[in-house]
């Protein structure tokens, strides 16, 4: 999609705002031109004897003051357009990000994405707002030339020729600007992305004494950005100089050509003043137009960068009903329909390979039945997490089928959400805010049994310790909580929704044995819970109705522990490491 189409699509959605802007600005320019005409009449009438010039002076003042008031009209238009564009672009980008399989890396880091949510959105919205002005400016330029031609055709033609020549030169500079704009945005993103990474890992850097080295790299990235930015600014400087020069050089030529006409009396001093004032006005319009044309090309750059996050051009400009309210209604409880109840989940031939490394899972099939407890186990890098993520649609399956009660699941990422499923990843994310907000995550309070969720996650001893309980601020990324508290808050988030299927990736890695045992006990006390979890812990393996043993991305054995210990040598090796003192025999 070209920058032009992009802008046009937006304007189709906000035509009233654009028309208001254009009308206000058109009126503004007309009144300003009228003011200039009045001052010209003033000078022409001055040599006479009548008090007429004073009337022209008053008209001059009135026209200009009214023109100023028109500012407020187009301001309203611009502001309305601005609200729509900035919000829609941001929402469409975030939705695009959420449409991607959640565990696939984004094309950019979150820090880099910030540049797009901030700079690209605000710049493109700001530039987009110029276009109604540009349209009016074209009209105004034509009108001014036509008017000047009625006064002195030769001089009008001369100024038009000068200005047309300037435009041709500007076009060349525009080409360069687009190239540099792209590079500048790329370098800006490198800066914000890098800052995001080092600020996220500040403890790692500090304790490794790597801060000076990290800063040296930051300096280099900054310098790269500076170099490209200066190149871009030079182009802009030339563009502005030429746009302004168009007016001054045009004026200079007009003065030169007007000299003999003035001497011959074919051109009055008042008309001379009018040419000056109107050419000056024209110069400003030229400037505005040249910027708009240049920006139209740069717009393609912003648009491409934003579309990358939104998941395509169409997704970026997709129309949405936006409710511009600052008060937030909570989410209603997810509706639980009869077909949402899990009886049986079949996974057939599930395959996903990580691009680049080619590792992943191949042709994995298994079945979960209602109320069962299934443990996925295997060595490091055997594909345990990949299997869970592919099942949930957080990674896009290359092959295979998932059937919920025998019915094929078409879009797993959207399907495996509450009330059907919920998931706690290996390294859970906690967001800034209170413990309560983190558990609810937008869910209406009455839709969730908070106390039950907290209890199920064995979080209540911690909350009892916190002076503010559920209202405790967890800090940036939950840093104020211990690793175990983060894991259990994430688990409580899942329990607050009581889904049919609970998926846990290594929940117990930050828990001690006693806390873990308590968590499992409470989990199983919940009737009908179907659990799929990744674990290498003895407690989990012993309790499993079914163990799925993965090796190099393939399911090599499935069944209860006792059975696998007899049939699968790999299981025996794993068990020997997990429970050395009972190697070879289950401890039941």
């Amino acid at each position: 999609m070209s920058g032009y189409t992009f802008v046009w699509r937006f304007y189709r959605m906000m035509l009233p705002a654009a028309l208001l802007t254009a009308a206000g600005f058109g009126l503004d320019l007309t009144l300003t031109a009228l003011g200039a005409a009045m001052s010209s009449r003033f000078f022409d009438a001055l040599p006479g004897g009548s008090p007429e010039p004073l009337l022209y002076a008053v008209a001059f003042l009135a026209a200009n003051v009214l023109a100023q008031l028109c500012d407020f009209i187009w301001q309203v238009g611009v502001t309305l357009a601005d609200r729509f564009t900035t919000t829609l672009l941001r929402v469409n980008m975030l939705l695009g990000i959420y449409r991607r399989p959640g565990a696939l890396p984004l094309p950019v880091t979150p820090g880099e994405a910030i540049t797009r949510f901030r700079d690209d959105v605000e710049e493109s919205s700001f530039q987009m707002n110029r276009f109604p002005f540009a349209a009016v400016r074209v009209g105004a330029a034509v009108g001014i030339f036509a008017y000047l031609a009625t006064i002195q055709p030769l001089l009008a033609l001369l100024s038009a020729a000068v200005i047309a020549a300037m435009f041709l030169v500007m076009r060349r500079i525009h080409e360069n600007i687009v190239v540099y704009r792209d590079q500048v945005m790329e370098r800006t993103e490198a800066v914000t992305g890098y800052l995001g990474e080092i600020f996220s890992a500040v403890a790692v850097l500090q304790v490794a004494g790597a801060v000076p080295d990290a800063l040296r790299r930051f300096r280099a990235i900054n310098r790269d950005r500076e170099d490209v930015s200066l190149k871009e600014r030079l182009q802009w400087g030339m563009l502005w100089a030429i746009a302004e020069n168009g007016f001054y050089a045009g004026l200079g030529l007009v003065i030169l050509a007007a000299a003999p006409l003035l001497a011959g009396g074919q051109f009055t001093p008042g008309q001379f003043a009018l040419f000056q004032l109107l050419l000056q006005l024209l110069g400003w319009q030229m400037w505005g137009m040249s910027e708009a044309v240049a920006q139209l090309r740069a717009m393609g750059v912003y648009q491409a960068r934003m579309a990358e996050l939104a998941g395509g051009d169409e997704a970026l400009v997709a129309r949405r009903e936006l409710r511009f309210t600052e008060a937030l209604p909570p989410d209603p409880a997810p509706v639980r329909r009869a077909e949402d109840t899990l009886h049986r989940l079949d996974v057939v031939g599930l395959t996903y390979r990580h691009p680049g490394t080619g590792r992943g899972i191949r042709n994995v099939s298994f079945t979960l039945t209602r109320g069962s407890f299934t443990v996925i186990t295997g060595k490091i890098g055997s594909g345990k997490t990949t299997l869970v993520r592919t099942l949930l649609g957080l990674l896009p399956a290359e092959a295979g089928e998932i059937r919920w009660n025998g019915r094929r699941v078409e879009a797993p990422m959207a399907f495996f959400t509450p009330p059907r499923a919920a998931y706690t990843p290996q390294v859970p994310r906690i967001f800034s805010g209170t413990v309560r907000e983190n558990i609810l995550m937008g869910l209406a309070e009455e839709a969730a049994d908070l106390d039950a969720a907290v209890a199920a996650a064995v979080l209540e001893p911690d909350l009892a310790q916190f002076p503010r309980g559920l209202e405790t601020e967890v800090g940036s990324r939950g840093l104020k909580l211990s690793g175990g508290q983060v894991q259990r808050t994430a688990a409580a988030r899942m329990f607050a929704r009581w889904p049919e299927l609970l998926v846990l990736d290594d929940i117990s890695s930050a828990l001690d044995n006693e806390t873990e045992a308590e968590l499992w006990r409470r989990l199983f006390a919940h009737r009908g819970a179907t659990v799929l979890c990744v674990s290498n812990r003895r407690a989990a393996l012993e309790q499993a109705d079914q163990i799925l043993l993965l090796e190099d991305g393939q399911l090599i054995a499935a069944g209860p522990l006792a059975e696998l210990l007899e049939t699968a040598p790999a299981m025996r090796a794993l068990w020997a490491a997990v429970a050395p003192e009972s190697a070879g025999r289950p401890a039941l």
Partner: protein
């Protein structure tokens, strides 16, 4: 924020640029002088034409006008480049200093500030300052010179015309000043709301796996809409205020032009002026608009800059809660670890560690056991001096760590936690942590030393393989292996392993056992574990409960004592029974 402090802050970064600024000002003064000449040329043209002088006499002022206008453009381009260079040099120096400052701040600070917020402050706020750095001094200075020039010329033509010009300038100047103070607050609010929104976006992009799996995306999108709407409302207010300021100044200037027309009417009719002079006076007042507009725009820029500046100064004035050590030095080789009656709390009234004491000889390994929340992680944070204890002391190699410079202290400690911190870059950069002095040979030797050569073969492009911050297909456990290599590339005197094997599967852990043993040989180590197998290599065991030492002693001794907590835990670990 006091004004003086802000000015001193700005001056720190502009001072190195003062030569450039001087050249810039002279370029702009040249352009200003030319501008002042233009109305004079117009008068001479009109008067000569009306006096019926021959054509060559008319062409001279016209030609000068054309030449002058071209020269102005050259000066303008040069000035633009110079001011941009000034701005970039100053702001990049500022960005660097801020990043250094933020990286020097302690964990307590980073707990309350998201990376998204900090990015916004280190980059966003500084970018807001760029316009101010590049333009303000030069633009406002030359605008004032242009205004002074116009007023001098007008007074030279007669005190009446001078007064009209002066009145016009004073009126619009007063309008600029009165409105601009209103916009300061508006801009401060806008910066804060941008920061809030960006911090929200960063967190919820980084956490998209959870957001999706919990079906919370509609709620997040609604929240973003609300934040964006609020941001817009604040911007709208600032924009209308600026617009009102612009209106008032332009109207004041219009009034000046009107007054000049009326004055010209009476003077001309009284025979005191030529028509050319009347036009010249009008165009001089016309010339006033540009510098006044420039000053107004720069004042807006200043308000924006002040808001950002206030936030920057307050960021730089955050001092680490941890005061840097005065210069004590740690002994070479493995370090002994001594905690002497250490008490510690994050918040008053909620002690996390109570009277904790122990001593670890150089080269020994201590295993710390305890339930979640027993204070194990806090103890580690004290050892790395992310916090200072409220009472008692922490000594490494016999030296109180509060006396050792932080860099020196931390360069001797190797810490591995569950959070590995991977960067977008090559495997090499991630392992060497941007240290250019570490050679490939050193890295491969470290890998071989840990017995990971085989495992590293999975990286197709060797050390040039790209690793993303998300890990690029590496599991959390695999990222831990990288952290282990990272650590062995340095030569720490104390190694701290904070539950680092939590995500390594038992088979791999067994393979790693020998490698870790080799790494710990001759070094002091503190190991935190939930699992007993992890601490089986420890010489000493410390059991924590509710922030107090429950038990401390040599591991063999505790293992043999059937009444010790350690042996009780061992027995519990053996059954790990679960009631279903």
């Amino acid at each position: 924020m006091s004004k003086n402090r802000a000015l001193r802050f700005v001056w720190t970064y502009l001072k190195p640029q003062s030569a450039r600024i001087l050249v810039l000002v002279s370029l702009l003064l040249g352009a200003t002088g030319l501008r002042l000449l233009f109305p004079q040329l117009l008068r001479s043209l009109v008067d000569r034409a009306l006096a019926g002088e021959p054509l060559p006499a008319l062409l001279l002022p016209a030609g000068l006008f054309l030449a002058g206008s071209l020269l102005i453009q050259v000066l303008r381009i040069a000035a633009t480049m110079l001011s941009e260079r000034t701005a970039w040099a100053a702001t990049n120096a500022l960005r660097f200093d801020l990043a250094r400052h933020v990286l020097s701040l302690d964990i307590a600070f980073h707990k309350t500030h998201t990376p998204g917020e900090l990015i916004e402050r280190v980059d966003g706020d500084v970018t807001t300052l760029a316009g101010f750095f590049s333009q303000f001094v030069a633009q406002v200075g030359t605008s004032l010179v242009l205004i002074a020039g116009v007023l001098i010329v007008l007074f030279a033509e007669g005190w009446l015309s001078g007064l009209v010009g002066l009145g016009s300038f004073v009126l619009s100047g007063a309008a600029v000043l009165s409105v601009s103070s209103l916009t300061v607050k508006a801009w401060a609010g806008i910066r804060a709301s941008t920061t809030e929104m960006m911090s929200f976006v960063e967190e919820h992009i980084a956490g998209r796996e959870e957001v999706k799996a919990l079906g919370a995306d509609p709620a997040v999108v609604r929240r973003l809409t609300a934040l964006s709407t609020r941001h817009w409302r604040l911007r709208r207010r600032a924009r209308f205020l600026e617009s009102a300021a612009s209106n008032v100044t332009v109207d004041a200037w219009m009034l000046g032009q009107f007054a000049m027309l009326v004055l010209a009417f009476f003077l001309y009719r009284g025979g005191a002026l030529s028509l050319g002079t009347a036009m010249m006076l009008f165009f001089y007042v016309d010339l006033l608009n540009e510098p006044i507009t420039t000053i107004r725009e720069q004042m807006d820029e200043l308000q924006r800059a002040r808001a950002a500046l206030g936030r920057l100064v307050s960021l730089t004035s955050v001092t680490p809660a941890i005061a840097d050590g005065a210069g004590g030095a740690l002994p070479h080789g493995p370090l002994s670890v001594t905690l002497d009656r250490v008490c510690f709390q994050y918040e008053a009234g909620r002690p996390v560690l109570r009277n904790v004491s122990f001593h670890l000889e150089p080269g020994q390994t201590l295993g710390i056991l305890g339930r979640t929340g027993s204070g194990k992680s806090s103890l580690i944070r004290l050892l790395c001096r992310f916090y200072d204890p409220q009472a008692g002391s922490v000594r490494l190699g016999g030296v109180d760590i509060r006396h050792v410079p932080l860099d020196a202290l931390r360069s001797r400690i190797g810490l591995i936690t569950q959070e590995v911190g991977l960067f977008d870059g090559t495997l090499r950069e991630n392992l060497a942590l941007f240290n250019p002095d570490i050679t490939d040979e050193q890295i491969w030797a470290a890998v071989a030393g840990l017995g990971l050569t085989e495992w590293f073969r999975r990286f197709d492009q060797g050390l040039d393989s790209r690793i993303g911050p998300a890990g690029g297909g590496l599991s959390a456990g695999e990222a831990q292996l990288l952290a282990l290599v990272r650590l062995s590339l340095r030569d720490p005197g104390l190694i701290i392993l904070d539950e680092f094997t939590a995500r390594i599967d038992p088979v791999t852990e067994a393979l790693l056992q020998t490698a870790v043993d080799r790494l710990l040989a001759g070094r002091t180590a503190v190991i935190i574990a939930h699992r007993l197998t992890t601490v089986e290599r420890a010489d000493q065991i410390l059991v924590l409960e509710q922030g107090e030492v429950l038990e401390w002693g040599p591991r063999h001794q505790l293992a043999q004592d059937p009444h010790s907590h350690y042996s009780r835990l061992q027995r519990a670990g053996r059954t790990e029974a679960l009631a279903r």
